[in-house]
Amino acid sequence: METKTEEFTPEVKTQRPNEVSLRSLWAYGVIGILFGIVFVKAEIVSWFRIQEMFRLDSFHMYGVIGSAVMTGMISVFLIKRYHAKALTGEKIVIPAKVFQPGQIYGGLLFGFGWALTGACPGPLFAQIGAGYSVVIVTLFAALAGTWTYGALRRYLP
């Protein structure tokens, strides 16, 4: 009897977490799909919309980002207020952002790139999906940029 239970329990323990994590991986993919559809349909992936934003010729992008932040703020407030737990049973902890000079220097450089390409990292993926194949080059350039940052990191403030 004793050996039987011992054989049985480890099997359950090793199978269950894998099953759950694989299923939740798919869930992240589904959220990504919905997100990508919104990106294309609200034309957030449009170079023109980003130009309008920086030229102050349209409210669209300010409305999108502003209402997204408001929705996020209310959600985070409610999650903290009610000590909500994740579906995995984990306590929800949002790591604090620590100030570093890179937020200024890197922020400005990203701003330059945002105005040039008309895309932040998310829209790059959605643009490729929407059929603008040349954006693959921009994505590879962004990967090269990230890699170069990693290589030069210790020399930067």
């Binding site: 990508g36 919104v38 023109f48 997204a68 929705t71 890179g102 040349v134």
Partner: protein
């Protein structure tokens, strides 16, 4: 049932038209609680670029020495964004040309941007334009700055502007302000030269 055909036509018409900001913004904002509630994950897209570097070309660089497989949810998420782009492009494509604000359109026309059909000007962003100085700066240099800048800043529009501000983080406010300043500077002082190269 009787009106089903009529209703689905109306629905499709509404879905294929560009979605207004007050629909898109809250949907994007809901990504924040969705990821938190699903598995205590914080929203941030530019991290995916780091994970891809760590997975494909870590090259002994300490910044890329970590267990990227633990972050595979993030890669799954961006793969989803790509698939979402495909689905929107195939099934929900706006049949009309994009509507660009007249002031922006007039100004861009003086800078040799003439294609106002799709989401991006195809006479500027295309494979054949890659070898021109203008195309190279816009696509390759621009892309490099996006990758380098977001990592140096520790996040992008999603990680800082949306996730960080939602969590009332002042470093994210500084980063977001710098994103905008950089964008304004490039648009007003850089692009007039670059677009007319």
């Amino acid at each position: 049932m009787f009106h089903a055909g009529h209703f689905s036509n109306k629905m499709m018409e509404w879905l294929t038209r560009p979605w207004p900001w007050y629909v898109a913004g809250p949907l994007i904002g809901l990504t924040v609680p969705a990821l938190l509630l699903l598995g205590n994950k914080t929203f941030g897209i530019s991290s995916s670029l780091r994970h891809i570097c760590a997975a494909c070309l870590p090259a002994g660089i300490p910044f890329f020495q970590y267990n990227w497989k633990k972050e595979s949810w993030n890669l799954m998420f961006v793969a989803g964004v790509l698939v979402g782009g495909i689905l929107a492009g195939l099934f929900l494509k706006n049949p009309e040309p994009i509507v660009v604000a007249s002031a922006t359109k007039a100004s861009l026309q003086t800078m040799n941007v003439h294609d106002f059909q799709g989401l991006i000007p195809e006479n500027v962003f295309s494979w054949s334009a890659l070898t021109s100085a203008r195309g190279f700066i816009l696509m390759v240099v621009g892309g490099f700055l996006v990758g380098f800048g977001t990592r140096w800043a520790g996040g992008c529009t999603s990680g800082h502007a949306i996730m960080g501000l939602s969590n009332l983080q002042w470093p994210s406010l500084i980063a977001t302000i710098c994103f905008m300043i950089g964008g304004f500077l490039m648009t007003w002082f850089g692009l007039p030269y670059i677009l007319t190269l």
